[in-house]
């Protein structure tokens, strides 16, 4: 993991107010988040109708992956059950929106926004609970417990079928598009992708600031050496529970976006494969790096799409990201973001301003 905190020492002209503003991390994270959002919006506006679904999918993955990368890379806790947390967000979304459907079977955008916030909050609470248990566990025991949680949730959903409608799941009505977009002949998918991009931008901004804040440093301290962190006065369980809850919240957001895109939720959309897919995205992107999580999500989502379009064996996408996972872990544990930063270091420094590794 790279920690680039030396930005100020390299400045020949420290006096420039503009530069000082740039080094202020909140502003810098804001700019980075804005860049991510802008690139996302550009994609939403330019890609064709067949690809836009993948963009929406990518945004859902990216939300979860960013939270997971902060948990694993930033705090040293593993979770193999994030798909279950996504399911919590998705079902919250469905339960909230369903009764608010208008005659046209579309819901106002404001309700969707509210539902997203609610999904985040509910998942945050569930994450707190799971985090409390998780904070007592280490390494393989934590992996086992989260894995078990991940596969247990679909069973619970099926069991309480009067609430969740069992195997069939619940429908999620599409959002009511603003007239301008409706007039531009946008498909609902494209609008969902738009919402997803905003969600990714917000998640990126929040997590980047958390990582840079005292909280993020506490998480990292716990990850690096629990005993040392404890001797510095940190409460290990508290740091681990908060990290887990924050990570869960983003998983809830991602799950809600996914539900919006799929226009429904059922227990099977949130299985072990999804947990492993997100984990793959995080690892391939580079553990601990937010941008890496986005790269990784893009790779996993588009690999599936591209290979599916090429009419090759349907198992090829899985095979290739399984292989990628192994190769990355053995040969380049820094993942894509690690390779990019190394590449960046090789190039001559044109600007003295070096972006921190988010």
């Amino acid at each position: 993991m790279r920690h680039d905190d030396t930005t100020t020492t390299e400045h020949p002209v420290l006096g420039s107010p503009a530069r000082r503003l740039l080094t202020h991390s909140a502003v810098r994270n804001g700019l980075a988040a804005a860049t991510v959002t802008a690139v996302g919006l550009l994609a939403v506006y330019t890609v064709d109708d067949f690809t836009v679904g993948s963009v929406a999918m990518l945004t859902a993955y990216a939300c979860v992956a960013m939270g997971l990368t902060v948990l694993i890379g930033g705090n040293g806790q593993i979770s193999l059950g994030h798909a279950a947390l996504m399911a919590v967000g998705a079902y919250t979304m469905a339960l909230f929106l369903e009764p608010r459907t208008t005659a046209l079977r579309e819901v106002p955008v404001l309700s969707v926004a509210l539902a997203l916030v609610l999904a985040v909050l509910v998942t945050l609470c569930v994450g707190l609970l799971i985090g409390l248990a998780a904070a007592r566990l280490r390494g393989p025991y934590l992996a086992g417990a989260t894995l078990s949680f991940g596969v247990a949730v679909p069973g619970l959903v099926t069991y309480f079928d009067h609430w969740f409608n069992g195997e069939q799941g619940l429908p999620v009505p599409p959002p009511d598009m603003p007239t301008a977009l409706d007039n531009a002949l946008w498909l609902p998918d494209r609008f969902v992708a738009l919402i997803g991009v905003v969600a990714v931008g917000v998640t990126f901004f929040v997590l980047a600031n958390v990582k840079r804040s005292a909280v993020g440093r506490h998480w990292a301290a716990v990850r690096d050496d629990e005993i040392a962190a404890q001797l510095c006065g940190l409460s290990i369980p508290r740091e681990q529970v908060t990290a887990f809850a924050v990570s869960a919240a983003t998983a809830g957001l991602g799950g809600a976006v996914l539900a919006l895109f799929l226009q429904g939720v059922n227990p099977h959309s949130f299985d072990l494969r999804l947990s492993l897919g997100v984990l793959a995205a995080v690892v391939i992107g580079g553990l601990g790096s937010l941008r890496g999580a986005i790269w990784g999500s893009a790779l996993v989502v588009f690999l599936q799409k591209v290979l599916a379009d090429m009419d090759v064996d349907e198992n090829l996408p899985s095979a290739s990201y399984g292989l990628l996972l192994i190769v990355v872990m053995l040969a380049a544990p820094g993942g894509i973001q690690g390779l990019l930063s190394r590449l960046g270091d090789r190039l001559p420094r044109r600007s003295t301003h070096h972006q921190g590794d988010n």
Binding site: Y141, L147, L276, L279
Partner: protein
């Protein structure tokens, strides 16, 4: 009462199968501190090998033998190609490598064995229960399952505890540096561990697949999760723990699906796991005496 007997027998049989998978995971964890998520896929591959052999020869027993041998070979292969480099890494990295291998092997099986054909692995013996009066007690297949797993556990236990090879394996697992000074070929012993784990995994596959509707690459994912649960409940380090954990899981799940609903199987497994871990964060039979921090 009749239902209770039925569920208990069923639970013990299932538990034996979980124990077999748990053994595979425990053997590898003990010796290399690798959490082998690929074990589920490796076991599935053993089952496919068995299916192929049975398909050609018509003999279930040749298939079973092939699954066990194939499992051992695959275990060594996987260790030599992938895990030997991951062994020195933090457990998180090697766990991720295992996940990658799980996805890769299952996808590869999907490519090799097209879905246009329905494959099944039959049970070795009849699944019709012997009756005591009107009470159905236990089927020959149940006895075979429990017997095969018991035989494996006892053999493994004796091998590790009583033989020179077992002593070498334990020394190599607990203290590789010291073992080398004593003339133990550590890499060889570790490979032997992977081979034995492969045999246990292959056996689990051959006992579990008959209860599934069809042999597909992901057929053993559920077994992997439950075997993992059993291993963790038992403490990951202990063979006795793996068997206890397996039987506990088997009984809990059998009663759940019998008296309640099959939907609750995995939630109950989760409750069992989290309940045990909250009381003992290192499982029931862990040999680690002190917990870090």
């Amino acid at each position: 009462m009749e239902r209770f007997i039925l569920f208990t027998v069923n639970g013990l049989t299932l538990g034996a199968i979980y124990a077999s998978m748990a053994l595979a995971l425990v053997i590898i964890w003990r010796s290399t501190r690798v959490l082998n998520f690929a074990q589920g896929a490796q076991a599935a591959a053993s089952a496919y090998i068995a299916w192929s052999v049975t398909d050609v020869t018509g003999s279930f027993w040749l298939g079973l033998a092939a699954a066990l041998v194939g499992g051992a070979v695959l275990g060594v292969l996987v260790q030599q190609t992938v895990f030997r480099r991951a062994e020195s890494m933090p457990p998180l990295n090697s766990a991720v490598v295992g996940v990658g291998l799980l996805i890769l092997i299952e996808a590869a099986l999907g490519m090799l064995f097209a879905v246009d054909e329905t494959r099944t692995i039959g049970s070795a013996f009849s699944t019709k229960s012997y009756q005591a009066g009107s009470l159905p007690l236990v089927s020959p297949q149940d006895l075979f399952v429990v017997g095969a797993v018991t035989l494996t556990v006892v053999t493994l236990g004796l091998l590790l505890a009583r033989t020179a090879v077992g002593l070498r394996m334990r020394a190599a697992a607990f203290a590789p540096q010291t073992a080398r000074l004593m003339g133990v070929q550590v890499p060889l012993m570790l490979s032997l561990g992977w081979a034995l784990a492969g045999v246990a995994g292959g056996l689990a596959a051959m006992l579990y697949t008959p209860t599934a509707t069809e042999l597909v690459p992901t057929v053993l994912d559920g077994l992997l999760v439950l075997g993992f649960t059993a291993a963790i409940v038992g403490g990951l380090d202990s063979l006795v723990g793996a068997v206890t954990g397996g039987l506990a899981c088997g009984l809990a799940l059998s009663y759940t699906s019998g008296y309640s609903q099959p939907d609750l199987l995995l939630p109950v497994a989760f409750l069992l796991l989290i309940g045990v871990l909250l009381a003992r964060p290192q499982g029931l039979f862990s040999s680690s005496r002190t917990r870090k921090v």
